[in-house]
């Protein structure tokens, strides 16, 4: 059995006072790009540490590429690549020395698996004599990815590789992941909901619970309310005005629109337009839209 199997994993800290993960069960298929989507404190890093054999779960079982995370932990460590959320390379070694170090640790060489990292390493090559601590954020991230790949792992774990990274660098990072996916199974976590659509399947996770697991498109299709986008000339005032309407179920800012659902779930915009007009708004625009993953996440959070 390859891929990843997770069954009923629980993990707590501080003698049970903080429940980090509750009954987590799911599978990742071989060759899949699987996303763990959730905010800080959701339990993403805890789950990564259990799967990468750094922590023990309180209960439950898990296997990576058919290997048990407890009984066969040493074998798992040989076939996985792990890029933790914090930059964990040697700051006072150069780019090339870091890569050399990780290759040697896994009894291999840069040359042997160069094909896998070539696309990424080419961008680092001009700086190969620079100390890792002196690299820019984007370059550090690329080096960390190369180091996690240098032994040609079967499964790659990436814990928030794009946090704090600007939107353009984030897009480039995901393009790299899409190319790598042809070679290995990838589990990646992110707090950015817009990155969910780039995964084959995602788990939405919050406070140690999985809210939903599915393909991004299926999660969007499962959104069971009519979603309206609403805009007027006074958006600050509009939020409280819309929330005051008794028929409104939820109302959140979304860029230059509000996203609104109603209790009766009607598909008629006119009622909403009339109610907003009565509150002295002008330039009113109301339209029915497709939800995004972030709409789904917030709806699921409110159900919890």
């Amino acid at each position: 059995m390859s891929g990843i199997q997770i069954h009923q994993i629980n993990k707590s800290f501080n003698k049970g006072k903080v429940q980090a993960l509750t009954d987590i069960s799911f599978n990742v298929q071989p060759g899949e790009l699987f996303g763990l989507i959730g905010p800080d404190g959701a339990g993403k890093t805890t789950l990564f540490r259990i799967l990468t054999t750094l922590w023990l779960a309180d209960s439950g079982t898990a296997s990576v590429n058919g290997l048990d995370v407890i009984k066969q932990y040493a074998d798992i460590r040989k076939i996985i690549g792990y890029m933790p959320g914090k930059f964990s390379l040697y700051q006072d070694l150069t780019v090339e020395e870091n890569l050399q170090f990780f290759a040697t640790l896994f009894h291999t060489s840069i040359e042997k698996n160069y094909d896998l990292i070539k696309d990424i390493y080419i961008q680092l090559e001009p700086f190969k004599a620079r100390k890792a601590g002196k690299l820019s954020g984007g370059m550090k991230q690329k080096l960390a990815l190369c180091c996690a790949l240098i032994h040609k792992p079967k499964v790659l774990f990436l814990d928030e590789p794009t946090t704090g990274v600007d939107p353009v660098s984030r897009k480039e990072f995901w393009e790299m992941l899409k190319r790598l996916q042809k070679e290995l199974t990838i589990v990646v976590s992110t707090p950015y909901m817009d990155e969910a659509n780039l995964c084959d399947r995602i788990a939405l996770i919050q406070k140690g619970h999985i809210l939903q697991i599915d393909k991004p498109s299926a999660i969007i299709n499962a959104f069971d309310k009519t979603l309206f986008a609403v805009k007027t000339s006074n958006m600050h005032k509009l939020i409280s005005d819309v929330r005051d309407l008794t028929e409104v179920n939820s109302c959140f800012g979304f860029g230059d629109y509000l996203h609104v659902t109603t209790n009766n779930n009607s598909t008629d915009e006119n009622h909403l337009i009339a109610a907003i007009t009565a509150k002295q708004h002008t330039d009113i625009e109301v339209k029915i839209i497709q939800p995004e993953i972030e709409d789904c996440f917030m709806a699921l959070m409110e159900k919890e």
Partner: protein, 247 residues
């Protein structure tokens, strides 16, 4: 000029032969929410650090809250609030001691601190939690407290450096409602973010590329100017043209 709380003119910062901020000129109006955007390494942190008095500029002029940034830095510090990436609270001391600490740092008298503490605890619904360690508070409460403390001395301007990174989507939106409230009370808000949807909540935004301001206007005007559907498209268009990659 009374309605402009930040004015810069050719503001420049060099580190050796590297020009981090390259002659930026802009202003921020009183009471507006001003979004300060840019890719990693574009120079926004450096620019912000000059405005809040952490770094002295290499050249150029700037006034913050009516004070010159070379001569009157101490007065500027009293007129501004600052909330850094994530939270600036002390996790291992109680809520009430955080309030006293920040009140003291921002120069409030003992009597003022006493009065403000009670009002703040009441406003944030934290009266029963005053002796709770900050580390035990839910994320959303911490964020409200951190923001309230950054404006406890009623500053003219509050600087928020990526205040919503990693926060869940509902808490993130509630935080923006706090920003609106502060702006409605006349506080000018200067905010950096990597969430492009949040840029839309600002009255005006600037986008920095390679140390310069490549675009500056209201979100609606920028979308018209660049013929774009959203700010993300404009950001991508401008940042892809960047020459430098250093942080």
């Amino acid at each position: 000029m009374a309605d402009k709380v930040i004015i810069t003119e050719n503001l420049t910062k060099k580190f050796g032969d590297f020009t981090a901020v390259d002659g930026i000129s802009f202003h921020v109006n009183k009471g507006e929410i001003f979004g300060f955007l840019g890719a990693n390494g574009a120079g926004k942190t450096t620019a912000m650090k000059m405005l809040i008095g952490i770094w002295e500029p290499t050249s150029g002029k700037a006034e913050v809250a009516g004070y010159d940034i070379y001569r009157d830095m101490e007065n500027i510090k009293k007129s501004i609030g600052y909330m850094s990436q994530r939270f600036s609270l002390y996790e291992d001391i109680p809520v009430i001691e955080n309030i006293r600490f920040f009140g003291g740092i921002y120069g409030l008298s003992r009597a003022e601190i006493k009065e403000k503490s009670a009002a703040l605890l009441h406003k944030l619904n934290l009266t029963g939690e005053s002796k709770t360690l900050v580390s035990a508070l839910p994320l959303g409460w911490k964020q409200k407290l951190a923001f309230s403390l950054a404006i406890i001395h009623q500053p003219k301007i509050v600087f928020l450096d990526e205040p919503t990174g990693g926060v869940d989507p509902i808490t993130r939106r509630k935080f923006w409602e706090l920003i609106y409230d502060a702006a409605n009370e006349g506080v000018t808000v200067f905010v950096t973010t990597h969430y492009m949807d949040e840029a839309e909540y600002c009255d005006r935004i600037s986008i920095m590329v390679d140390g310069r301001i490549a675009a500056l206007d209201s979100p609606a005007a920028l979308k018209k100017q660049f013929n774009a559907e959203n700010i993300d498209q404009i950001f991508t268009h401008l940042a892809r043209g960047a020459k430098r990659t250093a942080d």
